[in-house]
Structures are given as C-alpha cells and as structure tokens.
Amino acid sequence: MAVAFDSENPDLPPAGPPAGRAELLVRIFGPLLLLGSIVGGWEFLVRINEIPPYILPGPGLVVESLLDNWHSLYPSLLVTLRITFLALAVAVVGGVGLAILFSLSRWVELSLFPLAVVLQVTPVVAIAPLILIYVDNITLALLICAWIVAFFPILSNTSMGLASADHNLRDLFELYGASRWQQLLHLRLPSALPYFLGGLRIAGGLALIGAIVAEFAAGTGGTGSGLAFRILEAGWRLEIPRMFAALLLISFAGILIFLAFTALQHLLLRRWHASAASRER
C-alpha cells in the first residue's frame, strides 16, 4: 500500500527522483552483451580454425543439436528438475524443521549439528555410489544425494536467522507474556526469513548439482534418464554437440532456479529488508 506523505510534516524522509533507468539497462544488456561476444568469439574461432564438431562444436551447431534432440532432452530435463525440486522441498521442510528444533532445544542442537556438518563436508560425489548401492529405488537414491547437499545451507542459515531476533524485541515479547509459540511465530520466524531465503537461493543451485552428480554416479552404471545421463550417453557415442546441448540445458535450469528464488526473495522482502529494498535517491 502506498502512503501519502504529507509535505508539511518535518519528520518526512526526503523524497527523490525514481531509481535510475540506466542501471536497469546495464543490468540487462551488460551480461547479454558479454555473453553475445563470448558466443560470437567461440563461433568465430571454431570456423577460422576449422575445428571439427567432434572436438569442439560451434554454438550454432549446439543449438541445432538441442532442437534436434529436444524430444529426448526435454523429458530428461523434467526428470532432473523433478529430482531437484523434490530434494529442495524435503531440504526446506527438514532444514527449517530442524532449525526450529535447534532453537527450542540447545540439547538437540548440540547433539545433531555436528552430524549435519559431517554430511555437509563429505563430498556428495564420494557418497553417491554408496547410496546407489544401498538404496534400490534409483529415484529415491538420487533424491537423497540432492537432499544431502541442499539441506545444509537451509539448516545453517535458518538457524542463524532464528537466533538473530532482536534482543529488545525479545524482551518486549516477554514483557507482554508471549508464549514460546507466539515468540517463534511472530518474532523468530520473520527474523529468520531473509536468512532462510538466502539459504534457499544457494540450496536451489546445490540441489541441481547434487541431482546431476548422483545421476552421473548412477549413469556410469548404465541406468538413468536425467540430463547427466544424456551427457554420458552422448559421450559414449561421441555426439559432442549433443553433450553441449545437454550441458546448455543444465546451465539454463540452474539460471532459472537462481532467478526464480531471487525474484521470490525480492517479492517477500522488498517492503522491509535492506537486502531487497530499493534505495531511493
């Protein structure tokens, strides 16, 4: 809701011209320009040196291959994204739930947090083959791998956020006799929101990486249907342009996830948090 500021009131924050349009242009066209020149340079180098496509295909060929193989790549993209988002959803529920538990009980935190750290510092590439051995259901195994990497940033960020609630506000809640539950709902959770969203943005990318890594591990065994498996498959057949096409899709998926969560962050925080609010000058 917009507020009509009264120009007579001496308490007013200063009004300024709207935020610059120039910045927006740079934001959009800067990266595009850079990307364009990289792609152009790539195509140029491939052509001028006559590099054969099975060594390095030009970007044109990659796009062509992407379109040609869309019927097999698109379903694979969906498979990978499904794992990613399922893992992310479980990571959010588990991470936030555990963070809340930690904030309620120091005892639980002290005993469980080291375990979470162990999970986090062990490279998923190293655990994935083991998980694939012990878990029969491939989808479940992939899910577990993606979850392991996505879970920690959410847990640790949310934990920090829950603990960051302003001390005077806590006193205020105590003064009015707020229950633990009220304190959690109306003070700690909102305080944790910016931290959580930051964690979610990191976790989104990590979940994708975790899913891909696990697919690789599963794929080397000859099974799979996700994008990583398409890359392996194309590699075995020396279809290098198709490999690049699958790679391109993975990057796109990653970028989309990042943008989606950035937008979410902006949407939820713009009214109050310094990280998202625009500074009017």
Partner: protein, 250 residues
C-alpha cells in the same frame, strides 16, 4: 507524595559476570507521578527499568507493588525504536494486543487511538524503513500506549533524536501524560530534559549503581517553551547539574 504505585526496598543487582550493577536502591514512585532517573552512562539506569518491568530479577531486596499489575499494565519504550521491520506501523502497534490473543478486528479502534495519540494516524500502512527516526520513536511510544498502561517505562527514548524533534516529542509526552495520567519513569542522561519533564529527579552514580540524590522540580504543569526560557528552569538545571557532578565524584 500521592498513593505509591510501587517501591524498591534495598534492591541490588549483581550480574552473573560479577558486575555489581545496582546496590541499595530505596525509593517509591507514586501513582500518576513523572519521575526521571538521571545518571552517567553505565550507572545502571536501564537495569533499574528492566527490574521494574520484571525483565530482570533483583539479586537483593524487594520490589513491592501497591496495586495489582497485570500484563499490559506496563508499557516499555526502549532506547531504540525496536520495531518489527517486517510489519506495518499498524501491526507493530497492534503487537501487544495480538500477544494477548485479541483478534485483529476487535482491536482496530484501540490501535487507531494509540496512533492518533502520537499523530501517526495517516501512517498505519507504512513500514518502519519508510519512516524517519522521530516517527519510528513515536510508533514505539504508540505501541507502549496501546494497552492503556498504568505505568510507562521509558529508557532514553529521545536520546538519538535531534533537538528540535526531541523538544517536540517532550511536549507531546507531557500533554499525553497530563491527559491520560499514567505513571512515568523516564530514564535520561540529559539534565535539561529531566528538569523540563519531571516532578522528581533521582540522580544516580555508578560503580555500584546507586541513588545519590533526589531533587523535586516544583514547577506546576502545563510546562511549555516559556518554561525552558525561565529563570526557574535555569536554576533547577544548575541544582541538578551540581548534584550530578557530586554523584560523579567531582
């Protein structure tokens, strides 16, 4: 003094770290009184307020209430505005009522009344970051007032504001106090502010925090800008300054 609201008897506070923050506090505050606690930084003023509010327990001595005090009977204004940045002005002011479990539609009038007391009725939908420092402080005061408290505890509420805004809020506070007849315990480190506002000034010294003097300001209300320029004001300020200097061991 009128009928007392509460009194401290031999109250002392030692923190876990071994810091003796307060020692031998003995004073009573009457109903509808305006009392200031004046002292140098670190002498324990905030600690006294927190003891009165029940946010800390005295290590020694007793705090005796002469009336039954329920939740919501005490309003606390912190040194910083201490608003929830994610909530609108309206929701910030509504917080104490929400914590008492009263639904939103039932309390609309109460919140609006509190907002109009501090002159912010047009800003109910604004968010804290859209307000100036003085406006935030007023929201904080409105929040303390929304439960119609019996006692208002204010911890250097205007210390961070510029002088013009501070004078203005001082006057607004006095007007409200005259109208609503709360009891106010006001912490400040400004001699001028304490003299302007209060009926009675308790001067504190540090290490350990204790009360070294008590100065009544016998100037009738309403007080206004003319009082700031009067010789009575200057004389009172001098008296309080001398007392404060003595308390600080000079």
């Amino acid at each position: 003094m009128s009928e007392p609201l509460f009194e401290l008897r031999g109250v002392g506070k030692t923190f876990g770290s071994g810091t003796v923050a307060l020692e031998g506090l003995d004073f009573a505050v009457g109903r509808h009184a305006f009392v200031s606690l004046l002292g140098p930084s670190g002498c324990g003023k905030s600690t006294v307020l927190r003891l009165i509010a029940g946010l800390l327990r005295p290590s020694r001595g007793r705090l005796i209430w002469h009336r039954r005090i329920a939740r919501g009977d005490i309003g606390f204004v912190f040194q910083e505005p201490t608003l929830m940045p994610w909530a609108s002005v309206f929701d910030n002011v509504r917080l104490p009522l929400k914590l008492q479990g009263r639904p939103r539609r039932e309390v609309r009038e109460e919140v609006e009344r509190a907002l109009s007391m501090v002159g912010l009725e047009d800003f109910a939908g604004a968010y804290p970051r859209e307000l100036s420092g003085g406006m935030k402080m007023r929201v904080s005061i409105a929040r303390a007032l929304v439960t119609r408290p019996e006692l208002l505890l204010m911890d250097e509420p205007f210390a961070a504001l510029d002088e013009i805004t501070r004078f203005k809020l001082n006057n607004e506070l006095l007007n409200l106090w005259a109208r609503e007849s709360w009891t106010v315990v006001f912490v400040t480190h400004s001699v001028y502010e304490s003299v302007y506002l209060s009926e009675r000034i308790l001067v504190m010294a540090s290490r350990p925090g204790r009360i070294t003097g008590e100065i009544p300001i016998e100037v009738p209300y309403p007080r206004d800008e003319a009082f700031r320029l009067s010789s009575r004001y200057t004389a009172a300020c001098r008296r309080v300054s001398d007392e404060l200097r003595r308390a600080m061991g000079e």
